[in-house]
């Protein structure tokens, strides 16, 4: 079964609005990462947050992590049409450096 589950599965917003995606996971983690995938392309790493961190920023991205609730959220502020993509959370568990991915959120930003 999937370690991470994103919510919502699909999200449609207007350009300039903020987009929030959530990720829940099941077991203890070393870190949690977010990736973006444009249609027909490989995944691109966005941001990594470690288990002892609560919030991290990168440009228009803000990630929070709540280990007590086993959940994370990705906020994209002032969205652009170019942000249209699928977004995946991935968790790093154990000592093996392998990432387990969720099923993704499909974000559509309307111009």
């Amino acid at each position: 079964s999937q370690q991470g589950e994103e919510d919502p599965q699909a999200l449609s917003i207007q350009e300039g609005e903020n987009a929030t995606m959530n990720c829940s996971y099941k077991t203890s983690i070393n870190n949690l990462q977010w990736y973006r995938q444009n249609s027909g392309r490989g995944l691109v790493h966005l941001i990594l947050i470690r288990s002892n961190e609560r919030e991290k920023h990168s440009g228009r991205l803000r990630v929070t992590l709540d280990t007590s609730k086993k959940s994370s959220s990705l906020l994209i502020t002032a969205s652009r049409a170019a942000d249209t993509a699928s977004y995946f959370c991935a968790t790093d568990v154990g000592a093996t450096n392998k990432l387990i991915f969720g099923t993704g959120t499909l974000l559509a930003v309307q111009p």
Binding site: Y35, G42, T96, K98, F101
Partner: protein, 111 residues
């Protein structure tokens, strides 16, 4: 670009035939991964490698084998392809800090 290439990018084959997908990196990273991506399932880990000749199974390893005889190459083999192995296959390399860099994917169709 992360210096990772997959070949072939597209392949159509028939049930029962062997198929080998190749992943090549120029970054000298220790960790390499093979994932498959299917609608509704996100990315699922097939096999991964943490060094030359050091490999281990992921979530969905049945029907797949891997080999890593050189740091730069990680091969995924389907000994006898089945229709359920129709998918998009992604190779990734892992950095020492835990982020993954992905190739552009190999689309395999098994008829």
């Amino acid at each position: 670009d992360a210096g990772i290439t997959q070949s072939p990018r597209h392949k159509v084959t028939e049930t029962g035939t062997p198929v080998t997908l190749r992943c090549h990196q120029t970054e000298n990273h220790r960790y390499m991964y093979w994932y498959r991506q299917d609608p509704g399932h996100g990315l699922r880990l097939i096999h991964y490698s943490y060094g030359v000749k050091d490999t281990d199974k992921g979530e969905v390893s049945d029907g797949y084998s891997v080999s890593r005889s050189k740091t730069e190459d990680f091969l995924l083999t389907l000994e006898s392809a089945t229709s359920s192995q129709t998918s998009v296959y992604f190779c990734a390399i892992g950095t020492i800090t835990g982020e993954l860099f992905f190739g552009e994917g190999s689309r395999l169709t098994v008829l």
